[in-house]
């Protein structure tokens, strides 16, 4: 600050009749400056420019396709996790649920010698059931979602290994690539779209679709208002007639749906699923949502922000490789970035609220 601070701008003339502040027209720019994802967009641009400068192979089309793929595999989960966090809850079982979903598909198809699509359908139902279980446990009992989903996380981790070993007699599933329906399912969940001479993975499409649907739900539907309401203040929401229980179960089912999509991608991309994987990813989804402007306390955030958070994640994790840095430092950068992003978000939010 210089010593000669400029005089504060005169406050705009107040209208004669004090109109309801909620009905005031705000300019599109102001609207954008007040969005939760603004901080993450600024961060994403900064990260992109940074790696574009330090890593010469980062800007190749094929490299960007790899970055987008990395971002999409996180983003498909980060979007429903962000919705859940806006609703004021956590899901620590989201990481292993992806593996669970893939294992159920693969083993059901193989053991029943059924068309692969049957396994995919069974897996969807089973995964949604896990989501419902999380939600019902939460609203029927007292402990916070952090504890309940921690229990689910541990149970699923054990069940993944235990059931796989019991059914397949090894720690990974058996190949289902020669079964009926595999190729069509691969088209849907793990195909590659070639534009020019660059290969884009279909998960990018799934990711963008999920962002679009989640944004529409949040901003254009009654359910979206309920999500913000239960996250902002559960008791108040209940008092004005918001169906808190239904909303939260729905949010957990959303996370389960994301886990199902990710799990099917794992299965059809690699044909065989390792039962021990997925542990720790739940935190990555939460980090992506937080970088994207979601508040840990709930009631604030956006789906677009979570997608941008996933993009930052993808750019950093692959950018470090393109820049040929020592991978030992990866987690350090990630932590530093998380702190920077949250500080930036807080600062942007303060500015946005001050200019209202």
């Amino acid at each position: 600050m210089s010593a000669t601070a400029p005089a504060p701008a005169p406050s705009p003339q107040r209208p004669e009749k004090a109109a309801d502040e909620r009905l005031l027209k705000t300019s599109p720019l102001k609207k954008f400056l007040g969005r939760p994802e603004l901080g993450s967009v600024v961060g994403a641009v900064a990260v992109f420019l940074f790696f574009a400068i330090v890593a010469d192979s980062f800007l190749r089309a094929s490299s960007l396709a790899t970055v987008l793929y990395a971002a999409s595999t996180i983003g498909i989960m980060a979007v429903p996790v962000a919705l859940l966090m806006i609703g004021g809850e956590f899901d620590l079982s989201a990481g292993v649920m992806v593996t669970t979903s893939a294992l159920i598909s693969s083993m059901f198809s193989y053991q029943m010698t059924a068309n692969v699509w049957v396994g995919v359908g069974v897996s969807l139902l089973a995964t949604l059931a896990i989501g419902v279980f999380n939600g019902v446990m939460l609203i029927r009992t007292d402990p916070p979602s952090f504890i309940i989903t921690l229990g689910t996380f541990l149970m699923l981790t054990g069940a993944n290994l235990g059931f796989t070993k019991l059914i397949s007699e090894t720690v990974s599933t058996k190949s289902i690539s020669d079964m009926e329906g595999f190729s069509s399912a691969k088209e849907v969940f793990a195909s590659t779209i070639t534009i020019g001479d660059v290969d884009f993975k279909i998960t990018i499409v799934w990711w963008l679709a999920m962002v679009a649907v989640a944004t529409w739900i949040l901003l254009r539907t009654r359910a979206g208002n309920w999500i913000f309401a239960v996250g902002g203040g559960e008791q108040a929401a209940r008092a004005v007639g918001v169906p808190v229980g239904r909303t939260k179960i729905g949010l957990y089912m959303g996370v389960a749906f994301g886990a199902w999509v990710s799990g099917q991608h794992l299965l059809f991309n690699y044909d065989v699923v390792q039962s021990g994987e997925g542990v720790g990813n739940e935190l990555i989804y939460i980090i992506a949502a937080v970088i994207g402007g979601c508040l840990i306390t709930g009631g604030y955030g956006s789906a677009v922000g979570a997608a941008v958070g996933a993009l930052i994640f993808g750019m950093t994790s692959k950018g470090i490789v393109y820049a040929e840095w020592n991978p030992d430092w990866f987690k350090f950068f990630l932590g530093a970035m998380l702190l920077l992003a949250t500080l930036l978000n807080a600062w942007v939010r303060k500015r946005a609220e001050a200019t209202k």
């Binding site: 192979s57 290994l161 720690v171 990974s172 991309n269 044909d271 390792q274 997925g278 490789v321 393109y322």
Partner: protein
Amino acid sequence: MGAVLVAVLGVSLAGCSSTGGKRAEDARKAQQAQGRAAVNTPRWTFAMITHSGDGDTFWDIVQSGAKQAAVKDNIKFLYSHHDEAQQQAQLVDAAIDKKVDGIIVTLAKPDAMKAAVARATKAGIPVITVNSGSAESKKFGALTHIGQDETIAGEAVGEELNKRGRKKALCVLHEQGNVGHEQRCEGAEKTFDGDMQNLYVEGTNMPDVQSSIEAKLQSDKDIDAVVTLGAPFADTAVKAKDGAGSKAEIATFDLNEKVAGGLKSGTLGFAVDQQPYLQGYEAVDLLWLYKYNADVLGGGKPVLTGPQIITKDQAAELEEYAKRGTR
């Protein structure tokens, strides 16, 4: 001359340790092979992508072998790793995007790596597989596989246990979900005449490993041999054996400084080494040979770097090498 002077000064200074520490390490480093490129081929870039988790000593040794070969062959050597299959495949993609001249990759999760290796060969980048995936390497289009066949290594352990007249053995698996580990224990069970049991422990949590083995040894006094699948776990198994008052002999896969010391002092029975240094060194060297002279080693079969059974007799020499991080 200078080193002698420094040593004299160091010892004479009160409060300095005359043994071990950084100075001893520097002295050992001075003995290590170093040097400059021995060839004048172009400066190619080779990328190595492994399934290692963060901070794994075994992979440090593989890397030090690879780096030594890279220095000699005038190679720019890049290393990256991730323990999740999907992430590892993405790292291979990143190496292909960078248009490196050669790729070294581990196939611990072969199915997940299949497409990535195919992309590399399609892009005209030679691929060599190391450490795991001997069965799939050729199928995927890699030049050569360098490593140890886990089943054969396990069989060697079973035979060694027979030689030592053991009757009841325990195989400690520290990573649930690792196919190679399962093969090691299966191989040992196949050739071992006695009774072999598997024990799963949480490898990322050493106290848990120790208490699990201890509980097992307390509950079954007949166990007279414990086989661990990684060098860091051998020492833990020795502690557990002492805690349980058991007479079991401890054997382990892989080697490190502590294991070599344990072999020398007799607290460990034997170790099965797969020579990780050789895996890294040979991979880089063979890629160089391929680029320079289109040479391929192995005649379509894996090049085995193990198993090598190490007992008290070789331990003294190997301890020195393990200390400097090359065995």
